[in-house]
């Protein structure tokens, strides 16, 4: 079990305070899930604090960021970033694009194969 509510190491924010002691995210957001600021988030009217502003700016520049990137760039543990993002998504400030996934539990085999072919041709173009 990954918990994020503990003492941070040299971080921008104090996670335990930021997440008000809650450490269970409402959604299971994947490490590589892409996060995008919504129009509501960009309007800046509904933001609840500095961390939300930072995330909205990070994910609002036309270059979507993964949950892992948000955690790394904010210098907060993964679990903390997950709670922040989940809350903001619930408030309509962010959209979360969950990955399709390739495991046995992947939704659709054909979609997965098509995606793999895109990855392959993309790598060949590098």
């Amino acid at each position: 079990m990954v918990l994020g509510g503990d003492e941070p190491t040299g971080s921008l924010v104090r996670p335990y305070a930021v997440t008000r002691g809650r450490t269970r995210p409402q959604l299971e957001i994947a490490l590589e899930a892409l996060v995008e600021t919504t129009a509501r988030g960009r309007s800046g009217q509904f933001l609840g604090g500095r961390e939300q502003k930072v995330i909205v700016d990070l994910c609002g520049g036309g270059r979507l960021q993964s949950l892992a990137e948000i955690a790394a760039r904010m210098e907060v543990p993964l679990g903390v970033a997950r709670v922040l993002v989940a809350d903001m998504a619930a408030d309509g400030l962010l959209a979360v694009h969950e990955p399709t996934g390739f495991g046995d539990d992947a939704a659709d085999e054909t979609v997965g194969t098509e995606l793999l072919e895109r990855v392959l041709s993309g790598l060949r173009r590098l």
């Binding site: 079990m1 892409l34 995008e36 390739f102 495991g103």
Partner: protein
């Protein structure tokens, strides 16, 4: 603003880069990533299962596990992430999250410390995550016959095994391509078998 017009198709994928301590995982990620590899940390609290949230206080015994990752924009709608596993393989809790939904894994090995990757290979086989074995040739030396390495690792003949140079972008690129080709070929075999 300069958001892509339609982001509904946007998605991401990940490949796991695993191997023993100091085998060149971060170097490999950095050789193809479009960003300087970033590090993210997860904190594990011992005895965390079933603990009431309100009881979580910062003075519990905690362990921080760091993993680094890089990013490759495949096309406008598809981002590929490369996640390096934490060097210490005893923190398996983090690995569940790493492998969930992954395309597959590259197991980097150093022939001087072959045994370092045994537990990693066991883990991927148990989780049925496709992987290949890439021998990082430190100092450009290819001292061993690949077949000898395969025998020592006892990996099945289907598992691709190749030499790589983690510092070299082209070499890393070819290794990634090999992995995705392998995963695709496994899928085709499976489909034929079922159909």
């Amino acid at each position: 603003m300069n958001q892509p017009a339609d982001t509904s198709r946007v998605t991401s994928a990940k490949i796991v880069i695993a191997g023993g301590f100091g085998v060149g995982k971060t170097t490999l990620v950095g050789s193809v990533s479009e960003i300087t590899p970033l590090t993210t940390e997860a904190i594990m609290t011992s005895a965390s299962e079933g603990v009431d949230d309100n009881n979580l206080v910062p003075d519990k015994a905690t362990t921080t596990v760091a993993m680094d990752f890089g990013r490759i924009t495949i096309d406008q709608d598809l981002i590929l992430y490369l996640f390096g596993t934490p060097g210490q393989t005893r923190f398996w809790f983090m690995w569940d999250e790493l492998v969930r939904g992954a395309i597959g894994a590259i197991v980097l090995v150093d022939t001087r410390r072959l045994a370092d990757c045994f537990s990693v290979i066991d883990f991927f086989e148990h989780r049925k995550l496709p992987y290949l074995v890439a021998v990082n040739c430190f100092d450009g030396e290819r001292l061993h016959d690949l077949q000898d390495i395969r025998d020592a690792l006892q990996v099945s003949p289907d598992v691709p095994l190749l030499y790589t140079d983690a510092r070299n972008r082209e070499s890393t690129k070819q290794t990634l391509i090999k992995l995705v080709e392998y995963v695709l070929s496994m899928r085709r075999t499976r489909t034929v078998g079922v159909g």
